[in-house]
């Protein structure tokens, strides 16, 4: 989401890096550009102003100007301050050590509260909790139905009654006690922070159930008004954390910086897609790296660890050692890559790659085509590709809906991969560096 901001800053920093010596003048010029980039990224203008003033003060100090690489020093200052502004470290939700944990989701209309509730519930169900979703949005037509449908799909119970929101919340707590739920996630109706009646209703809900944590759900695409609404919700209710939604778009997400600065409350989670599993913990340092175009290798490695089956990886290693890499193994590899997420999001985490690929549509279907071709092979063909002759190629092409050229390409590249694998024993791991994957 911070893509465009990264690009802008990258250009600015390139100029800075190129400077052997920095003067007050060129630092100021560069920071003016940073300010503009921030404003275009929807960072609140006051927040941007303060940020720049801070960086400028530190950058023009003796230490930076006299250092060997002053440009790098300025970038480091921007990075450090950005991490600081983003909240320093990632923070988890708070749990109630004695009894039921209650999280209350609040926010403007359309920010993504209902979807966010389902995502949080799924995440913590997987972590071994017993969540209960509570539908207390009685205003938006079919809002309760939406949560019920999401709950059903995830096999998480949804509680609601025909009462008012406060009564629903208190009944839900009683229901949770009776049925041993340990996590209650309360969906509330979207409302404007200037709507006193509805804000008062939230206060009464808070008094009635004393939530462990109140989460403000904010749309990553929000503009300058983010500061205002977050501040008002915080003043009225005392929010504990922020969930930033729709971060998979190209919004530059400056609103996140503003909300943090104004409320002092951390962003805890970010919504990264439309599916219920698309929820990530917010990592300030990684996000700062992404903003500044430094990539996010840590997240990539974590995703790989979560998706890759260790047992299968060991088996594969054995096969590689014996040079027995087959289409079947290759197919397994593809599945594991797919489990990690879309190619576009994965490549975006590799330093430098995000920028190089900008604007090119990364087609996940290329993987699907390769998959289809492998699936159209007989088990024998997968184990022993050398038997795939002209007529077999034609059948595979027809069966998978691809051209014979596509099949030829796949088999040729697979052959090269096998050769590489064979060399592996002799040459060590470096052999992999020249390997071409057929997608």
């Amino acid at each position: 989401m911070f893509g465009d901001l990264s690009d802008r800053l990258d250009g600015i920093f390139k100029t800075l890096r190129g400077q052997g010596k920095l003067s007050e003048g060129n630092v100021k010029d560069a920071l003016k550009e940073v300010r503009r980039a921030f404003l275009e990224a929807d960072v609140n203008y006051k927040v941007a102003k303060n940020f720049i003033a801070g960086v400028e003060e530190e950058s023009l100090g003796e230490k930076v100007l006299s250092s060997v690489t002053p440009g790098q020093m300025v970038i480091k200052i921007v990075y450090d301050r950005l991490v600081q502004l983003l909240g320093g470290q990632s923070r988890d939700m708070a749990f109630n050590p004695r009894g039921i944990t209650i999280w209350m989701m609040v926010g403007l209309q359309g920010s993504g509260k209902t979807t966010g509730c389902a995502k949080l519930a799924l995440r913590h169900k997987r972590a071994g909790r017993k969540p209960l979703l509570v539908a207390a949005d009685i205003y938006r037509p079919a809002a309760k139905d939406q949560l019920k449908i999401l709950g059903k799909a995830l096999d998480i119970p949804v509680f609601t009654t025909d009462d008012g929101p406060v009564k629903i919340a208190t009944s839900a707590v009683a229901h949770a006690k009776e049925n041993d739920y340990d996590l209650l996630i309360l969906d509330t109706a979207g409302r404007l922070h200037i709507d006193d009646v509805l804000m008062d209703e939230l206060k009464r809900m808070r008094e009635a159930v004393k939530p462990t944590e109140i989460m403000f759900v904010a749309d990553a695409m929000t503009g300058q008004d983010a500061v205002k609404s977050a501040d008002e919700f915080n003043k009225a209710l005392g929010i504990d954390g922020v969930m930033l939604t729709k971060t998979d778009g190209d919004a530059r997400g400056g609103a996140a910086l503003s909300i943090l600065e104004v409320t002092g409350r951390p962003v805890k989670f970010v919504g990264t897609g439309e599916k219920s599993a698309d929820l990530d913990v917010f990592h300030p340092s990684r996000m700062a790296s992404r903003i500044l175009g430094m990539g996010d290798v840590v997240s990539l490695v974590e995703k790989a660890q979560a998706a890759v089956d260790t047992k299968k990886a060991e088996e594969l290693e054995q096969k590689l050692r014996k040079a027995q890499f087959t289409f079947e193994d290759f197919y397994d590899q593809l599945q594991q890559v797919k489990n990690m997420g879309s190619l576009e999001s994965l490549l975006g985490m590799i330093p430098g790659v995000g920028k190089a690929l900008k604007g090119l549509p990364i087609d996940d279907r290329a993987l699907v085509r390769v998959e289809a071709m492998i699936q159209s092979m007989t088990p024998e063909e997968r184990r022993n590709p050398s038997i795939i002759n002209g007529s077999r190629r034609k059948r595979i092409a027809l069966g998978s809906g691809n051209s014979i050229q596509d099949v030829n390409k796949l088999i040729k590249q697979f052959g090269e991969m096998q050769k590489m694998v064979k060399k592996l024993g002799k040459m060590g791991p470096k052999a992999f560096s020249g390997m071409k994957f057929p997608f």
Partner: protein, 302 residues
Amino acid sequence: MRGFFKKLKIGLEKTRSRLVGQLTETVTGRPQFDEELFEEIEEVLIASDCGVETAGLLAGRLREECSRRKTMQAAEVLEILKEQMVLVLAGDAPATTAHQPHVILFVGVNGTGKTTSIGKIGAQLKAQGKQVLFAAADTFRAAAREQLQIWAGRSGADIVTGADGSDPAAVAFDAVSAAITRGRDVVLIDTAGRLHTRHNLMEELKKISRAVGKAMPGAPHETLLVLDATTGQNGVAQAETFGAAVGLTGLVLTKLDGTAKGGIVLGIRHRFGVPVKWVGVGEKPDDLETFDPAEFVAALFQ
């Protein structure tokens, strides 16, 4: 229209007091306009989500006009700024329903208020005696269909639906065909919210638009981007990408009754020439009204 004007004024109360309050504070007490003053005006415009570029453009034009007219009076400077803003937004034909049926496709990112806007517009058209048909072509979001069904029930509009996860283009096609057969006046097509960066979902949207054109040549007659007034500079990217995919004829600006200023419409109008057709200023069915640029700016500067 007078009712709307009043409501918009109330809706924009917070916006206006903030924007004009700041501007007046900036301008008054200074007999001489200077460079600093223009920079501050620019800042106020940026704070209303106008965007750096549009704010710069407006401030630049303001600077030119002021020097041309040799004025430095606070009240006059404000008046000139107002004129400039009207100039950016002016010249739009009001929304029409000229075709039989008149087909309107609603598109936008998630959570901007597409379904609610359709419900409101449908209720108003119905009250004007038009025969309205809703197409629940959001087959993705849980309970989106139910939400539209409730709106249809309230206003007595027809509704064509499909199963969850079914092809939205087929639902849209069926709806338009049904409207032709039943002789309905207006078809309002709801689509699933989608981020404009999702290539496949944008392709799906193109398909919906094409399917509508197959059911009735020339349709959709209007394609409206529903935009949340709290949206920041990303609104420009939304207008650009949705415009490139399905060709926008206008905007629906929702949730203008908060403190959000919706200045992004100035930026979008300036960049792509896409006008605002409707504005949402409240939760009730008649809290969505056709947009008049002169009144919008007038209300802003009352």
